[in-house]
Symmetry: D3
Subunit: 326 residues, 6 copies
């Protein structure tokens, strides 16, 4: 079975019309009713893509760059987030063999995590979701100081993740900096998140916490030596070892990158992910394949074994996302 842990909902335009009007009103109101037919019309293409990509099950979450975690107040974010999670719940319900739900959390700047924790609980307990996104920069790149992921600020959320036994996928949202696209902000925030966690007490304090870092861990596997050096100088456990407290998805659209990732963190810490359809949906003229068609790429790597592939494609996902296949 091929499990893609990193996908996002493909939803009707009416959902985004609702978002646009939330922005315009700057205050919450009830979202529109969307019919099953409207949902299915959009899902048709999504499912065809999964088929062509040889993906049996995909975990879908809100499209991160639309999460608006820094705009117009906590109540607007909560209205939007719960609405999107409910749509995802219905999509999973329509195709329970192909999808699992991963929650967006109504984070808002550096405020109380209460609403995020409540929504995590609601989506996992009531809607059967199997994990959540965690945005390490709910200020969305405007430079406001947010506590790093190693800070006790985040502990109530980590506690709830452990209690519910679901993983968080580190994934930032949009980016307000005029010189940094949201897509690059994902990468930079992942590097910040990895160091924030690995250089902290978090995994000592929460030994059962499971964190997956999106997009192959930002820059860290590539820049490994730089951060090993710091640890060696201060006499800490080798950075390479500490890094393996985390999990990583394979949303890297090049064979070279994937090879490096598997070498550095080990296939036993990697989960297959494509984010399809999304950023990688572009045909490589050299291969005629879409860049996010990663199953053949990973199949083609000579540096890993078939056992490794089983870990990557399925078994690690089963281990990390315990609720997905129970």
């Amino acid at each position: 079975m091929i499990v893609d842990v990193h996908g996002h909902t493909v939803a009707p335009a009416e959902m985004y019309e609702y978002q646009a009007k939330l922005f315009a009103r700057r205050s919450p109101f009830r979202g529109p009713k969307i019919s099953d037919d409207q949902l299915e019309a959009k899902l048709a293409g999504h499912l065809a893509l999964l088929d062509s990509g040889q993906i049996d099950v995909q975990f879908i979450s809100p499209r991160p760059y639309t999460m608006m975690h820094s705009l117009f107040g906590a109540d607007v974010v909560r209205s939007w987030t719960t609405y999107v999670n409910d749509i995802i719940h219905r999509q999973v319900g329509l195709h329970p063999d192909r999808f699992r739900g991963v929650a967006g959390l109504p984070q808002f700047r550096v405020t109380d995590l209460g609403p995020a924790i409540a929504e995590l609980e609601r989506t996992v307990t009531d809607l059967g979701f199997v994990g959540c996104l965690l945005n390490p920069d709910p200020c969305e790149g405007d430079g406001t100081s947010v506590p790093g992921l190693g800070d006790r600020y985040w502990y109530p959320l980590y506690e709830k993740l452990c209690e519910l036994d679901v993983p968080a996928l580190i994934h930032s949202a949009s980016c307000s900096s005029p010189r940094e696209s949201y897509s690059l902000h994902f990468i930079n925030e992942e590097s910040i998140a990895v160091l924030g966690l690995v250089n902290s007490q978090v995994f000592d304090d929460f030994p059962t916490l499971k964190v997956v870092v999106a997009h192959g861990g930002g820059a860290i596997p590539y820049q490994l030596g730089r951060f090993r050096a710091g640890g060696l100088k201060s006499g800490q456990v080798d950075f390479t070892v500490r890094l393996r407290r985390l999990w990583f998805d394979t949303v890297l659209y090049s064979a070279d990158g994937l090879e490096l990732l598997f070498k550095v963190v080990g296939p036993d810490r990697c989960l297959f992910g494509t984010e399809a359809p999304g950023t990688g949906a572009a045909v490589d003229p050299a291969t005629g394949l879409s860049l996010d068609d990663l199953k053949p790429v990973i199949d083609g790597l000579s540096t890993i074994t078939d056992d490794d592939r089983r870990l990557i494609f399925e078994e690690n996902a089963r281990a990390v996302y315990g609720r997905a296949f129970s």
Copy 2:
């Protein structure tokens, strides 16, 4: 000959005492006289390190995290920067066979680049420097909006670089964000710089401009596919091709990272660099060597040829830093 294009000055404590007092006064004043003996006392260790690292010539610049580009006004920065450049000039003069000077520029937040351009001219023309550092984030991570490197804001500097025929090494300074160390900020800023340049008109407008990206280009070679996708969708020249308008140094402290770098951008775009002594000065217990002892690492790579090595160790440096060996 082994040429290390990325080193920083090792200077007496009195230089930093001067900096501390500049901070304390918040206004410029004349720096202390430092004797040749004081300089040599510090250089002794530095030269020994070059010897043990098999480095024939190192290009030295101000230590970037001390450049204070966001603090206390342009005039303080200028006093400090010119002082440090003058120290470097004297160090090069003491050991002309082992060092070349690379200038720090007195950038200050998002102000007029005039002082930076003037200092570039002074150091190259009067002091014989062979290039400069370019900080893409003179606000040092406080989130203030700076124009990206593709913006016309930077054109007067590019023009001067072309006129003088010297390259800029992209290297940020310190970082005020409490969750991002200056060391990681280097990496994230390099990624932002690469995309800012490669997705712009800069190299069309300045065909002779030479830009070296420090630390192996941040996250970009590893995350290549992600950014290729964007270009493919919009019908631009392949990102891989555009990426090769830039040069990259080898300040990556792992063989895996170096291998990926050479594969992705090609040995003909890479310049040997160690930043020694600096971040990488930590002994790897597995090898007994310092992590920044990169000559043996590159010698040991099976994925490149001896011709590649000649490019990396010397010939690219001669091509890019034309003034260094004239």
Copy 3:
């Protein structure tokens, strides 16, 4: 002929999905193609409403509360505004007997009015639009200081309006104040606009300028005495006279309000408007009619004559919007 000068476009969800993604990206990109069928599907209900409301021709503009004049930069606003104006242009083209286009302007906070003027020219000259909206508070209620409409800041726009001989309809956008809905902000901004214009030199400097104030002029006709008093004390021309330099629409959803309006400013300064479908789309249980079904209400007033009604329903619109029926 019944001419409704105050309507807004009824557009497919895909248009607002585009807006949501502009917000999410914080930077401009090309909007989606929307087919004629998609447009007509939405227009069917709109046209039925016009029929039931006895409206022969309605002037349609962007829905003001979605104009986002204070968010994410001038270039995002311009992308969004031109997209919406183009949609309106196509809707008018599909039903040239029922619609006329009124442009939204890409205002952005207190910046250069150049883009707004350029879009006014484009929509009138190239797209055949007959007027525009003018937002007196492009900061959308956040308290930022904007020059009042009597300030010379606005003169380049007034000049272009005169040159093109089209009127502006005063209509604010959204409102960021947590205690003021966008709907009430419309009213308060209209009061500010009326006083700003009437107490200024604008109509002396631009004798041919035509300005229509939406929603019956905010509070001013009701509070007339208060503002007459100020003028009487300072020896100005009576406020009642100066007030009649402006035009007013009838978007007031009560007979009492309409009666007062006609009495105070005169039927010869009023233009029929309903904003249908919009705020007034609620059935009054007392009458069984929608509150924005204003034709019967005006027909039923005993305080005006049939000649007055002709002015209100058609002739004033022909006089003010000279391009609409040429």
Copy 4:
């Protein structure tokens, strides 16, 4: 008996000299002693005006635009407010048959309402005042976010008003916006206050609370339909009904406005007010009367009965301001 519920103190220049020096010092100090003769010299004109306006009793409060609720700190405001209230107390004491005291409250931006509540208690209990002013925008139009009057922020004050059984007159102070005079700000703030209260739980939570809205309720009676529509759509009690939880004064200087007010909210919710001498003190050349000479205007209206007039001129004032005639 003709009772004017909306008048302001006419005080000697020395009182305002004290205010100017409070501004200049930015810190509190004891105000000057003003003799009875000085007070009477100013009151002579005031009383003559009441006589000529046929006003038997006027309720006088601080002149609102001088209340300085956003300047120089809570302690300066408290010094000033208590000083003015004490002056009013003396004026009432000099002419107990002609005046009643209405307190200004030492509100200061969005701080603790404690000082305001204490001064309310002092003025009612110790000085025999019969009500107070309530400024819904103590930030005086600078756009700072203040909780709306429906917010629990205001509940301690509402509680005290109920306990003391005195009404609050909604009346804002000055306005810092360069495009909105304090006089128009009164009107806009009244509209915001009406909606904030009427769309809230306040009157459910404080069934005995009595609130009078100055100047005929801002724009709301005129714009009634607009706000009815919102309520109808969401299934609330008709806005017209909810609006009648409030009381309104007649400080509207036109017969048309007064007629509309009486029609929309009913004479049984209106209290005679003139604000004389004040904004309306300008002679209408058409009538030869001052615009604030409202007794003859209301006498002349054909749309209300003599019973209505009794309510407006006296009985409603007795009902609302229970302490005024006890």
Copy 5:
């Protein structure tokens, strides 16, 4: 003849009532007419004080702490300042043998000095004033960065002072810092002003510029050694010599202070001043005299000669204020 160069206007309460209402309106309006009788009523006490203090002629200017240089915009400051200067002009006109006018300048924060220069010209040329106040901190202690008096920012004003041949008296206005009274702020600003001028090129660039420092020069004569030291180290002309480019008034309410002043700067650089009536108007129980009754104090000093006294009481004033006795 005893000439007091440092006095302030004593004006009727109506002038300050006007100021209070300017504050309240935040926009300019025409000030009240004040009769000669009103002026004389206030001047009676003022003149009696001059008589008892043996002062023949006093130079009067606006009361500095009321100048409001940081509040509500340049136009409000201009209205207020010109009004006060006009009152002073009338007071001088009523008693031309006892008073001379010294202008307040409509400075406003760090804006264009144009209005200040224009008012200087108006008061000197049209009203016959003999000098002006110069506020080195028009931001009134809120910490906003203002260029020091040595900065070229002030040169247009210095140029006009030279052209008109009138001196400026350094005197700050109010102070917004909660821990610094306006009275102490005067002193601190004078110290800043002295150093700013004496350590600059101003007197080289304007050799005929005449500057009087109020209150005996702040702290500088007392702290002389400290600032001499700085100059000695950098090889400048002795600070004591440079200090004598300035003039100083005697508004120091102790014999000890006066003695020090005369010793340090010399009687030939000092001008008699009392600021009476003002801060010093308090009877010293030890002497039974008011602290600002300085004539006897200076007469009683044994450390100066009668020739010195003539300089201090009259001749220096004649030299510096050339227009006062022409």
Copy 6:
């Protein structure tokens, strides 16, 4: 015995290199080890200066302008301050007959005084320090509002000073204002501190509190009359009497200033201080002595007695700094 209560540490460049790197990193790290030899090398000159200045014992504290109380967060300040205090402790240990330690406190802007109190306790109890510096403006002249020294904000620190029975020396740090040097800021802050204390309840609430004001009390002794006047008007105890609750050091580099100081506050409230080597280290060409060579200056004053001199040079220091000679 000659006791100099006001000296600062003379430390190796390595200490300031550490400070520069703390600035650069913006986060704390362990400081460098400095050997006794390095310390002694610097102390040699310092001791020679004491000898030539006839100083037997000097109290040394951190150099105030380098205390960085407004930069980069409380934890950086704490690292720096404790490091410097530890260096001082070692210097005192090397020369226990010549030095006593006076602590710098890790103040940081307007935050919790906890760390400052803890460091006070540590240095006095563990390191044997005899007093501390107290910076009344930890925002270092940027205009941020700090509570004055009379405010209860400072009470926890006063309590600890009383409990430990050590005095505080009022001494500000650097200054960010471009028009005020740190050296003048010392003086101005001392004036603010004196008035803040003397006009407060502090000495009533802490009768045993001992406060020494550096540099002869800023401007206050010179400007005494001005502040006496305020107190006389309000009926307070004479300012001269209240002023003597404080102690003053003699760091005034002129005989005139010293004479005034002794006259105004009395020799029984003055402690000998030189701040040598420091600001006063400049040779006066008139005397051939350094300006901070104050022993001969005080010896030469005819206005005080030998008994006074004993108080100033030794006995007051013994009384105030009880721990220094126990």
